[in-house]
């Protein structure tokens, strides 16, 4: 029976082993003292807890450059997500196949959501249309939204929104880049408490929430 110790996993993930054990403990006591964790069993338990054992249908709204790339992306299916429908407002696109799937018109949005039992929606429309699309999705029953449009969406309680803003990702890099450059120059002022981070330690890379356009 292949096993791993919390120490090995922690080293691989770059975290503290005690934290890893404590995290696992919230799922239950799946380890064996003196041995470690049964890999297969652990993987199953974590997958189940994270909701990866079920199949999640998602819809993508806004099939432009980005939406088409997402539709073509094979990495979703392997993680338990199924693209149930592609939706766009452009009548000229209706019926056009993208990633082997016909694009459907926004007129049918509500019916598509309900017919497929979709609870997760992806918005890749222009920023101006995002809030409106969001509202229709929520009204139709969607309770989780992945938003690529550079707008803050207003949603009712109970609806989760994750915003992916690629410009901000670049800004965070530029911010640290600037730090590296002028490190020795300004050693007089107070140094802001910016955590030295690597792969996505903090949410937004520990950068202030308020920013001008």
């Amino acid at each position: 029976m292949p096993t791993v110790s919390s120490e090995e996993l922690a080293a691989a993930a770059g975290v503290n082993s005690a934290k890893l054990r404590k995290d696992f403990s919230y799922l239950g006591s799946y380890g064996t003292r003196g041995v470690g964790y049964d890999v297969e069993y652990l993987v199953y338990q974590i997958s189940r807890e994270l909701g990866l054992t079920q199949d999640w249908p998602v819809v993508i709204v806004g099939i432009g450059n980005l939406g088409a790339a997402l539709a073509n992306y094979g990495g979703f299916a392997s993680r338990g997500f199924r693209v149930a429908a592609l939706i766009d407002a452009d009548p000229a696109m209706a019926g056009t196949p993208v990633a082997g799937m016909p694009v459907q018109h926004t007129d049918d949005l509500e019916k598509i959501i309900s017919d497929n039992g979709v609870s997760i929606g992806v918005i890749s429309t222009p920023a101006g249309a995002a809030q409106q699309v969001c509202e229709r999705l929520v009204a139709a029953g969607v309770t989780s939204i992945l938003n690529f449009a550079p707008t803050v969406l207003s949603v009712p309680d109970g609806v989760d929104v994750r915003k992916v803003d690629l410009s901000i990702e670049l800004q965070i890099l530029a911010f640290h880049e600037q730090r590296k450059a002028g490190e020795e120059a300004s050693d007089d002022g107070v140094v802001p408490p910016v955590a030295a981070k690597q792969q996505r330690k903090g949410p937004d890379g520990d950068v202030p929430a308020v920013m001008p356009a």
Copy 2:
């Protein structure tokens, strides 16, 4: 002179006004007591601190579905980023214009980086090529990388990597989605300390770092 108080800004951003003031204080004392902050001056100071006043040339490596979408995206330029070059390994693509810019071959990667003084690179190649591309970028002088390939990149100290993993974004949504569904069912076990979060509060949405493929 248009001004804003920390209270107003905090309300708009959904954060505590004391935290906002303390954050601002790291940049200096730019407010006026009894009045607030001069909007124009504040915007400039924050922009400068975040490195938005300079122009950052970036290269995109891997001009496939996603890379092309990124190249076409106009939101970067407006934030101070300039796409200096598009690079792909496919000889058939060399010279082909994407977003009004000819795709260049990976053979010239080092020269392109150095000629343009690029310090930020975007990787949108298949996962298998990402580490190798990363190493060439770093060797050529790139010190910040935005990685879209679903791989953890190994980089030397001093190089920042931000990974954007869209599957994980969906997984986080699915995780919370599952919570909502089975909320009343399992009120017996210990409830893991998952922060109720909205728009990107924490880095990875407060989800364990270790996950199976």
